[in-house]
């Protein structure tokens, strides 16, 4: 920074208004309805009669500046320079000229970005850092996402599903991917208790905080080899890694035991049913890079069962509630096991407390 220039701070984000296309500014808050024209393309019609076309393209989210510049070029070429990204990390091109849609889609396809994700489709997988950037990851994020989306890409470029299907991935229980309310959630799991590094612990961590961090009270202060440290009661550990979050000397990463669990039936929208949490479908699948075939197959199976059985609009969780969990396990061929039965704080509230059963 050149001397003499005042250092700017706390300027906040740029005002979005400068990034809005004229048609948006003009019709801001005055949209009347929309229609999905074909996979990945929709039109919003304003009270004024103006039309705004949106073309949505898939993205790996991890984007190089080279690709971003290509998006910028496409925006200039087809959209007077206006584009946006979505809350699920897709890129959207905003057009006023219907005739430009086809050539834009063609160019996107050549670039390797399929167009779709609108309407009754699978959209991009919300996900996290994984081995690309995080210290906590029990699995990679981008790799599984790529493998699963390769397999399901057709459901992105089609709109043949009964309703929306939202998949998310988080590489550890911190759940930065907010997978806890997804139709299908892929969640990295540790399965081995923390291995305490007694040599560094008392230097790097506050022992009382470490002890307090454990929700199951599995951690006790202890003196090991003459040094103050902690001890883990392995029987009580359920691998949440909260101790690791507060103390680097408690790593849970473990190539042999880390892997992936699959969860189903969550949703966020208030449409029809209230928001729901995802529920455990498969407690553990191994980390099998580069393409995690077990995970890909499990997700496909679940998608197919839902796609075949759900009614129009019916999200995964609504579908399962209608047919019952027993039938879900039968149809997917997943085994119901002890792990599926909750045993945390509110476990009792998940037991079936009625005689309303399908026989």
């Amino acid at each position: 920074m050149a001397a003499g220039t005042e250092r700017k701070t706390d300027i906040g984000p740029p005002n979005y208004e400068q990034f809005l296309a004229p048609v948006i500014k003009k019709n801001y808050g005055q949209w009347k309805y929309h229609e999905v024209l074909r996979p990945g393309v929709m039109v919003h019609v304003a009270e004024s009669g103006d039309k705004l076309y949106t073309v949505r393209a898939g993205s790996p989210r991890l984007l190089s500046i080279k690709t971003l510049r290509k998006f910028a070029d496409l925006a200039d070429k087809y959209c007077d320079g206006y584009l946006r990204f979505t809350s699920r990390n897709n890129v959207e091109f905003l057009l006023t000229d219907e005739a430009k849609i086809d050539p834009l889609i063609e160019e996107l396809r050549e670039l390797g970005h399929p167009v779709g994700g609108i309407g009754n489709a699978i959209s991009s997988i919300v996900h996290t850092q994984g081995w690309v950037h995080c210290h906590s990851a029990a699995t990679d994020a981008s790799g599984i996402v790529k493998a699963v989306m390769d397999d399901l890409c057709q459901y992105f470029t089609d709109t043949k599903l009964p309703g929306k299907l939202r998949i998310a991935l988080a590489c550890c229980l911190n759940m930065c991917g907010a997978v806890h309310c997804s139709d299908i959630a892929i969640l990295g799991v540790h399965r081995r208790p923390p291995r305490v590094d007694h040599s560094t612990l008392s230097k790097l961590c506050e022992i009382p905080s470490v002890v307090a961090s454990c929700p199951t009270a599995a951690i006790r202060p202890a003196t090991v080899e003459g040094k103050p440290s902690v001890e883990v009661d392995e029987e009580r550990c359920m691998f949440c890694a909260n101790c690791f979050s507060v103390c680097p000397s408690m790593p849970l990463n473990d190539p042999l035991n880390d892997g992936v669990s699959i969860w189903v039936g969550g949703k966020v929208s208030n449409a029809r049913t209230e928001p729901m949490f995802s529920k455990l479908a498969i407690p553990y699948l191994p980390n099998n890079p580069p393409r995690w075939p077990e995970v890909v197959q499990a997700v496909r199976r679940i998608v197919e069962v839902w796609a075949a059985g759900a009614k129009k609009y019916e999200r995964m969780g609504e579908f399962i509630n209608r047919i019952g969990w027993k039938r879900f396990f039968e149809l997917t061929g997943i085994e119901f096991s002890k792990e599926h039965i909750d045993d945390f704080k509110h476990a009792g509230l998940t037991y079936k407390r009625s005689a309303q059963l399908r026989h």
């Binding site: 250092r7 701070t9 706390d10 300027i11 906040g12 984000p13 979005y16 990034f19 309805y33 229609e35 919003h44 949106t54 898939g58 989210r61 991890l62 984007l63 190089s64 500046i65 080279k66 971003l68 998006f71 910028a72 320079g81 206006y82 584009l83 990204f85 979505t86 990390n89 890129v91 905003l94 919300v126 081995w131 210290h135 790799g143 996402v145 790529k146 890409c153 992105f156 229980l173 759940m175 907010a178 806890h180 309310c181 929700p215 949440c240 909260n242 979050s245 680097p248 190539p255 880390d258 966020v268 929208s269 208030n270 449409a271 029809r272 928001p275 393409r291 129009k312 609009y313 704080k345």
Partner: protein, 403 residues
């Protein structure tokens, strides 16, 4: 070979195949002329081989005067991959609604080409532009260039996190308030809280224009502002008929999906019992040309959602059933500050506001922030008989009262 060790990346190469755009291609394309990306590729291939990550636990690092916005990251394999020995990310506060012009995007690219890996996330899970990986001494220069282009850092640590919102009135016919405006306004108003962590833990705000909640606010925000309306759903009966003609089955698709079954259809007229409609959006979603939210619009404010660590995941719960959302948003800012005061004073370290409310009790929390209890705040009144009656008569008192 794009990776720095020259051993090739046979495992990652597998992820260049297939129809979905490949993050490996992205890294490789940068690795052609960026050493950080080269080493990232190398270390990642090793992770794929060994089935484990090689990043160290955190590290406090940042730009001058800010407590957040940068995630410090160091490699365990610094010797092998020296260019990712430091590999910090910057979180850059996105413009509301993730709208850009081509030029703004290019400006960001130029900055990052000069100072970092050239890799980004568009966007991070909270909503920020994520600049993925650079060295400690590049942080200040990056920041200086960013502010020059009008961008600033987002949140990290125990602060207000970067608020985000759905596309709202910019492109959606259902927006019940101006999600972009309030998001931008709150972000600017609370710059200090965003940049200088001083809370018990993180505090996220997300604004969705209607109950479809396209920004997942009810699951992922300590404060969720969800648009809704108080009056009657607007019906265009002619358009209803057109939907019926074009194949919508009102009984099956509309009535049976209405959570309160408050819709009637006699073949001619669609009737909605608005007093029993819970504003779920389903009928409107299904027939966007025929139905629209009412005209008396505002939002429901909910509080406390979060991921499971440690006490289990939470969805946000209703704090204000209905409120008008109009600039300058004094009432909402005031509410937020009252919440921060109480939580800031009594919250434990690493206790999110949702957990805090559960610990102290919603009733007590309401008293502290000076809101009246309202039946809409609960799914149902208590089931257990363990009521804390707060006062009792002492002998003699009752008689006194009667005098």
């Amino acid at each position: 070979m794009a990776d720095s060790t020259g051993n090739g990346t046979p495992l990652l190469d597998e992820l260049e195949k297939g129809p979905w755009p490949s993050f490996v291609k992205e890294i490789k394309s940068m690795a052609e002329d960026n050493k950080m990306s080269q080493d990232l590729l190398g270390q990642l291939e090793k992770s794929y081989r060994d089935k484990t990550g090689y990043w160290k636990h955190g590290g406090i690092v940042g730009v001058m005067g800010y407590g957040g916005g940068v995630i410090g990251r160091y490699s365990f394999l610094a010797e092998e991959y020296p260019n990712v020995a430091h590999f910090h990310t910057l979180r850059i506060n996105q413009p509301s609604g993730w709208f850009y012009t081509a030029d703004a995007l290019r400006a960001l690219c130029d900055v990052w080409e000069r100072h970092g890996s050239g890799l980004t996330n568009m966007h991070g899970s909270t909503g920020d532009i994520v600049f993925l990986g650079t060295k400690t001494d590049e942080l200040e220069p990056t920041f200086a260039e960013l502010t020059k282009h009008g961008f600033d850092l987002g949140g990290s640590g125990s602060d207000m996190r970067t608020p985000s919102c759905c596309v709202g009135p910019a492109r959606c016919e259902w927006a019940c308030y101006d999600t972009l405006h309030i998001t931008n306004d709150l972000t600017h108003h609370f710059q200090d809280e965003l940049h200088r962590p001083a809370f018990p833990y993180k505090f996220k705000v997300k604004c969705a224009g209607c109950p479809n909640d396209c920004v997942a606010s009810i699951a992922r925000a300590d404060m969720s502002i969800i648009g809704t309306w108080r009056d009657e759903i607007q019906i265009d009966q002619d358009e209803v008929k057109k939907y019926v003609e074009s194949g919508i089955d009102i009984h099956r698709d509309i009535y049976a999906n209405c959570p309160t079954r408050c819709i009637e259809w006699d073949g001619k007229e669609l009737k909605i019992d608005n007093s029993n409609c819970v504003r779920c959006m389903q009928c409107i979603n299904a027939m966007p040309k025929a139905l629209r939210p009412g005209k008396d619009r505002g939002a429901t404010i909910l509080i406390g959602s979060k991921a499971p660590i440690v006490e289990g995941a939470l969805l946000s719960s209703v704090l204000i059933p209905f409120i008008k959302i109009e600039p300058p948003y004094e009432e909402i800012k005031d509410l937020i500050e009252r919440i921060w005061d109480v939580w800031g004073e009594h919250g434990k370290n690493r206790e999110r506001v949702g957990e805090f409310i559960q610990r102290v009790g919603l009733g007590n929390f309401l008293e502290e922030i000076d809101l009246e209890p309202h039946p809409d705040m609960v799914a149902h009144p208590r089931e257990n008989p363990y009521i804390f009656y707060e006062e009792y008569y002492e002998e003699g008192e009752e008689e006194e009262e009667e005098e």
